[in-house]
């Protein structure tokens, strides 16, 4: 089921349609690299082992980075992920990205909106520092409005304090 959905997204990417892909960054699965094995041996175009695919970006590189409580600073792990994202974007110049900033539910609605804005912008700045053109990037904050995990413990909160880089085909954001 999940593989099917991912392949469908990847196929959409190949058609070059202008729709945003993996919209919301939430519905496309949380598997990091779990889309492999779609074919026996060869690279299936658009699949997670096709380095030019959106699925590859989402799963193999990783489309999200996580943050500490109240923080927008990038851990070394986050920086490594973002370096991979930047490299991918530099190699695939026909894509733009919307960077979503999210917060966990511990905090007021307005503060979390501002915090999500800070996080998304930290990611944007890092991608720019790695050579991605600013006009290919746009940010949005969802505050605590779109949690990925719904429990009320740190196990979920840590997954919700995130930014997600959502690719879209076509120039300009």
């Amino acid at each position: 089921m999940k593989t099917t959905a991912l392949l469908l997204i990847a196929a959409l990417a190949l058609t070059g349609c202008g729709n945003r892909l993996g919209q919301g960054g939430d519905g496309s699965g949380d598997g990091f690299g779990n889309g492999a094995g779609a074919g026996a041996g060869g690279i299936v175009a658009g699949s997670a082992n096709d380095p030019t695919s959106v699925a590859y970006f989402q799963q193999t590189i990783g489309d999200r980075v996580l943050f500490a409580v109240d923080q927008s600073s990038l851990s070394s792990e986050a920086q490594a992920t973002l370096a991979g994202q930047a490299q991918w974007m530099n190699s695939n110049p026909s894509y733009t990205a919307l960077i979503e900033g999210h917060a966990d539910e511990q905090g007021t609605r307005s503060y979390n909106l501002a915090l999500g804005g800070r996080r998304a912008n930290a990611v944007r700045d890092y991608l720019i520092s790695q050579g991605v053109s600013a006009d290919r990037l746009r940010t949005i904050s969802y505050g605590k409005e779109r949690p990925l995990q719904v429990c009320s413990t740190e196990a979920c909160y840590s997954q919700n304090r995130r930014s997600v880089t959502v690719l879209a085909a076509g120039a300009g954001v």
Partner: protein
């Protein structure tokens, strides 16, 4: 039409010439019949409200309905306790007949509310009422008469209850008011939100937006005709104004701002203070609605958000994490550094200035719990009114004596609901809403 409630005609007049009012005093209220809301030893005042007299058969059901709304308004404050009708000894069969006070002292009723309802030939309804101090054996204030359209009957009931509440407590009225809020349905990770407006007691709910995009933190304009909120209709969070009557919407704020949010009207309705994020940094801005001219009020690398005006419009209280964690600050409405007013443990947010100018209510997060609290406008005398997994976003009743807020429960099935509490911390109650609800904002007292 959803907007009828805002345009129901309601005329108020003082009842003249009734014999029973001869010699009644309009001021001051009896020293005996008095509730002091912040009295720590307060016990609810027993009162009786016999079913209002139906002056014609068409008024029978309405008379009962109006009486029950009055009783509910007063009882729900926690300041009054209704003596059940089946315990009444006396009967009120005629609105103008003399009161047998012994019938009401016999059941220990301290206040008595009587009234009548007439349905006119053209469908208008006429509601009359009087309030009595039973111990004194005398009216408390003048009799009043309300005339309005039939669909405004709840408003007339609220007006009666407001008059009784105000005369006995000495506080301003608040029952005849509306609340704007966000109605929420769906699972926690895919909530659908839309803006609703309801009477303060949950009646007459109307929805102003669809669930197609996220809407956050709606607030009334001072005259109640517009609502300002943060909406994602464009795909990005933008301060948006919706006209309550026409539902026409427009976004406000600068084009260079990536996100604009947390708006509030100034007390005169001419300006809006809000937060905007530019390149990751959130600051406060002031927008003149008429001219569209905009002023940046703060320019620090920290987050400045959740602004609210003082009642005279001269100052703004807001939240900033410039000290390392969110705290409350007050600044001149023209901008500036601001003065920090919160110094307790924990994090402070969403300050709202009481319309009475005596307190600021806020959200406090400390040791894994959330609280609604109040402090003086200089930050002194901090008191926490509530404590729970997640309480946030207080809003003041028009009289500044009751606070409504969002309480969200924990876990995968957690959901928000609206609650009220009075400024003494007493009488925590869940407000009636048709579905899960958040982000309440109390509107003005209706005219």
């Amino acid at each position: 039409m959803f907007n009828v409630a805002f345009f129901r005609r309601l005329a108020v007049s003082v009842l003249m010439g009734a014999a029973v009012l001869a010699g009644s005093m309009t001021t001051p209220a009896s020293a005996e019949l008095r509730i002091v809301i912040r009295d720590p030893n307060l016990s609810p005042m027993p009162f009786a409200v016999p079913t209002f007299v139906a002056r014609n058969p068409a008024a029978t059901d309405l008379a009962n309905d109006i009486t029950r709304v009055i009783a509910a308004d007063l009882s729900n404050t926690g300041l009054f306790r209704e003596i059940p009708r089946d315990a009444h000894v006396g009967r009120i069969d005629s609105f103008d007949a003399p009161i047998q006070f012994s019938d009401w002292t016999a059941i220990n009723s301290r206040a008595l509310i009587t009234g009548s309802v007439l349905v006119e030939g053209d469908g208008r309804i006429v509601v009359q009422f009087r309030l009595y101090d039973v111990d004194a054996g005398a009216p408390l204030g003048e009799g009043l008469q309300f005339v309005g359209t039939a669909d405004g009957w709840r408003r007339m009931a609220h007006k009666v209850a407001d008059a009784a509440y105000s005369r006995i407590t000495g506080e301003g009225p608040y029952f005849d008011s509306r609340v704007v809020f966000v109605s929420e349905v769906g699972p926690k990770d895919a909530r659908q939100k839309r803006i609703g407006v309801m009477d303060y007691d949950g009646a007459n709910v109307q929805y102003l937006t669809s669930s197609d995009s996220i809407v956050l933190a709606p607030r009334f304009s001072p005259d109640g005709s517009r609502i300002i909120y943060t909406g994602y209709e464009s795909g990005f969070p933008k301060v948006t104004v919706i006209d309550v009557a026409s539902l026409a919407k427009r976004t406000v704020g600068g084009v260079d701002q990536n996100m604009s949010f947390a708006p509030r009207f100034s007390p005169d309705g001419s300006r809006v203070v809000y937060s905007a994020e530019v390149a990751g940094n959130t600051d406060l801005y002031l927008l003149d609605i008429g001219s569209g001219s905009q002023t940046r009020l703060t320019s620090a690398p920290s987050i400045e958000t959740a602004p609210d005006f003082s009642p005279d419009g001269s100052q703004i209280v807001f939240e900033s994490d410039r000290s390392g964690a969110p705290q409350l600050y007050v600044m001149n409405a023209a901008g500036g550094e601001g003065t920090r007013i919160s110094f307790g443990e924990g994090r402070y947010g969403t300050p709202v200035w009481s319309p009475r100018n005596d307190f600021i209510a806020f959200t406090k997060q400390n040791a894994g719990r959330f609280h609604i609290g109040v402090m003086r406008t200089d930050g002194s005398e901090e008191r926490l009114l509530t404590g729970a997994f997640l309480d946030e976003g207080p809003t003041w009743a028009p009289n500044g004596r009751v606070v409504m807020f969002t309480r969200e429960t924990a876990g995968a099935n957690g959901a928000p609901a609206l609650y009220t509490v009075d400024i003494s911390g007493r009488n925590l109650q869940r407000a009636a809403t048709p579905a899960a609800a958040s982000d309440p904002a109390w509107g003005p007292l209706l005219r």
